[in-house]
Structure formats: C-alpha cells, structure tokens
C-alpha cells in the first residue's frame, strides 16, 4: 500500500499545548479518520500537513515531497476542506470561484458546475447568505474541482444535520472508489468513522495513541463491566478509564497490556469508537 503522507517525529510547541513526536502514515486508496477530543491537536496537525503551521522539528512528506521545496506542487494535488468558512463572504459562489480557480492548473469548470448542481448550490448567492451545510458543500465543490489526489477535511461533519452529514459521507465513499485518491478527515463524531473509515489515527493531548485499521483498533480494546464487589478484580491492572457507581463499574482495557484471560471473571464487550475516546479522555481515576 502506497503512502501519500508520511509524518515523522513532528513536534510543535505552543503556549500551553504541544504536538509531541507525531509519527503516522496515510495510505492511498483509503479513508483515514483522524479522531480525538476537542483540543487534542487535530486541526494543528492538519495545518502542519498544509504547511499553514511550521513544525519545530520533524518531517512531513506528501507524495514523497516536502513543503520546503515543493509546496506549490503538493498543494496543487490537495483538496482542502476547512473547519470554518475562509472564503470571501461578500462575494458570491461564482465570484469566489473566479478569484480562486486561476491558482490551479488542473481546475475543471465543468466538474465545479457538476458539484454545484449536485449540491443544489446557487452560483449567484453570496457566501455569507449560505447555510452551514451549504457552505460545507461549497467548500467541498471548491476542494474537488481541481482533481485532487488527496483530500483533507478538518471536521467537515461538525454542526451539520444528519441528512447533509450522511450525504457527505456517501460522497467520500464515492470519491474513494477509483482507489487513486486518499481522504483524511478529522472528527470527534465517532459514528461517522465507524461508517466509512478504513484506518484510524487517534490523537490525544498532542500525542498519537493509536494508528491502524479501524477493526484492529476496536478489537484491541475491551469494555469491562462488573458489579461493585467485582471491582477488586481490577486491582493492579492498568485500565485506561474507569467509571464506577455504587452498583458497578465500567472501564476500558487495552488487551496489549492486559491479557484477556485475566478478564474472564468479568463481563467484557467490544467497545465503540466513542467508548474508546470517552474512556481515554476520562482517565483511570
């Protein structure tokens, strides 16, 4: 499997927050979900991929090239969907296109019109008068109209209603069919990832907790449940998160650290991505 992105030892320090030594790959022909709670470092990492944020150290390579020498070539091949509206709000969709299309040598006006029709976007409407869903669709049309090989989306489904969200996810699956593109999208809506992601990268507090196939991710962890008097069975075990009440407890366990045999006396089940996210953030108090 060919890597479209390779990140090695990426480090970036801000006041009160840091990306620490990130290492991950994004593979061609697949959808990779970037998951993590708010403030975990998803947008910062994405901005490092887009060279909007300069790393303190480490290496970011896209299509085998680095931004230092080939940033224009790299960005020509990327379709970027922003986490909020960055387009010119006082200009219409058509005027925005007229301003921005000349930057891309592969810009396809026909394809752009196709997406406008598909998304039912009025070309003459000003961006500031578009709804959140329409803005996202417009952003997507702009990102896709120059035949990108790599599509990066920063929380594209946040704030969208279920219908638009579902449409967006369907479109992502449609785009990936030719196996020539890769999609990387960040979210904290885990059900979106469960539906379409092939790979997962889980970031928490500026560090990659896990990266790999989605199924491998959910199979690696188990959700442990038991009554209050069974809680002592967990003593000495490095559980990831624990939620205890008067009647029982629930926690997440990493099978790489705790053999399943040690959990036979308690009830275990396969966690959802949301369970993993929740317990990781909650901690093992």
């Amino acid at each position: 499997m060919e890597n479209i992105v390779e990140v090695r030892n990426l480090t970036k320090q801000f006041d009160g927050f840091a990306l620490r030594n990130l290492n991950f790959e994004i593979k061609k022909g697949f959808i990779t979900g970037f998951i993590g709670p708010n403030g975990a470092g998803k947008s910062t990492t994405i901005r490092c991929l887009m060279d909007l944020i300069r790393s303190d150290s480490g290496e970011v390579r896209l299509f085998g090239e680095s931004h230092d020498d080939h940033t224009a070539d790299i960005k020509e091949r990327i379709g970027f969907v922003y986490d909020e509206n960055y387009y010119y709000e006082d200009l219409s969709i058509e005027q925005n296109k007229r301003v921005l299309a000349p930057f891309y040598s592969q810009w396809d006006d026909g394809l752009f019109c196709h997406y406008l029709r598909k998304f039912q976007l009025p070309a003459d409407r000003r961006v500031k008068h578009l709804s959140k869903g329409m803005r996202m669709k417009f952003s997507l049309a702009m990102a896709l109209a120059h035949h990108p090989q790599f599509i990066i989306m920063d929380e594209p489904t946040a704030g969208l209603d279920p219908v638009v969200r579902r449409e967006l996810l369907d479109l992502m699956q449609e785009l990936i069919q030719d196996e020539e593109k890769a999609i990387f999208f960040s979210t904290h809506i885990t059900t979106d990832l469960e539906r379409i992601a092939d790979f997962i990268i889980f970031i928490y507090d500026g560090e990659i907790i896990f990266q790999g196939e989605k199924d491998e991710f959910t199979e690696r962890y188990v959700l442990v449940k038991g009554s209050a008097d069974q809680r002592s069975l967990l003593n000495g075990l490095p559980v990831i998160g624990l939620r205890a009440t008067d009647v029982g407890f629930e926690c997440l366990a990493d099978t790489m650290q705790i053999p399943v045999a040690r959990l036979q006396e308690v009830w275990t089940e396969k966690p959802t991505l949301e369970d993993i996210l929740y317990y990781t953030v909650r901690g093992g108090s």
Partner: protein
Amino acid sequence: MIALIRKDLYTQKLSTYFLTILWFIIFTNFFTDGQPARHVLLLTIVAYFIAISSTNTTFEKESVLINSLPITRKQFILAKYAAGFMWFALAAAAVLFYIFLFDTFAPFPARMMTVPELLIALGSFFILLAIFYPLLLKAGYILASTLTVLAPFAAMISLTMVKNIMENPRMKTEQEFFQFLLQLFTEKQWSIAFLFLLVSAFLTWLSILLSIRIVRKLDFTHK
C-alpha cells in the same frame, strides 16, 4: 503571482474607492491650487490607502485561505509588493483626473503633476509599503496601518510649518535655507526624483527580504 495580484483587485471592497474621497478633502479641501507638494502627498496617501485596504483586518483569515492554495510563501509576499504598482496606477489615474479638472476649468493658475513628481510620489508610496508589510506580519493590521498613515499627516504638518516660516519676517536664515531647497528641487527635479526612487527601491528590497523572513516562520492560525 498574477493570480494573487488579480485576487487583490477582485476582492477590494467598492467602499474603499469611495472612502478615498476623504483624502481629497483632507489634503486639498477639494480645491487644489496647484501646489506640487500637496499633489505628491495626495497621490501617495490615496495609493497607500487603497493598497492597505486590500490587506485589511481580515488579513489573518485570508492568509489561511491563500496559503492553502498552490503558492509559496515567497510568492505570497512578492505579490503584495507587486500589487503596489497596480494600486499606484489606479490612484494616479484618479488624482491626475482631479488635477486635470482644475487645470482645465479653474479660473486661477493650476498645473498638472510633472513626471518627477509622480516618481517621488511612487517612491514615497513604496517607502510606506516597505514599513507597513513587515509591521503587518509582526504586529498586526491596526498597529501597522495607524503608524504608517501618520507619516503623510506629519509631512502635511511640516509643509504648513515651512509655509509659516516663509511668512515670518523674523526668520530670514531659515527662509534662505528653504529658498535654497526650493531652487534645488526646481532645478534638479529629475536627479532628486531618481535619487528618491533609488532610496525607496533599496528600502523596499530590504523590506521584501524582511517580510519573506518573517512569513517563512509564520503560523497561519486564525480561529
């Protein structure tokens, strides 16, 4: 690069062009008596005002959009300076038309700007830009625009002071000095204009290098 300059032109707000009328009032009271220094100042400030309005308070947000397009950070900076020529040409057309109206129809002697005066205005405009862009990148739009817009006002106040000195019978030595300067400017217009342009080009070149250096390390993190 062309796309970046065209972007600046297309995204310039229409209201900016109307607001430039204010500068005609402030610097000439809508009544030019043909004073070359006023014309030079007017052209400088009009061009500068239009130029910095294209890089307004939304600069940080726009920078995220623009720098995610297939351009380099160096091109991003170079285009900002290169667009200066476009804004100057637009401003020069407006100011020359304004002076032309007085030159043609006013019942008192007025005169068009000379080429050396235009060159001095161009040089002054680029000196302001040379200060503005590094300040913008380091300190933000409000500080950069406020500090630099004060310069033409300071020049205007200096002119008024010189005028007062020339009318004050007790300041003979100073008057002789300013007379000498005036004579020098009149006789050696071209030399002074080229010298001024040379200084302006040098400062602009330094400013471009500084801006590129700043922007290479800059994070575009508007939220």
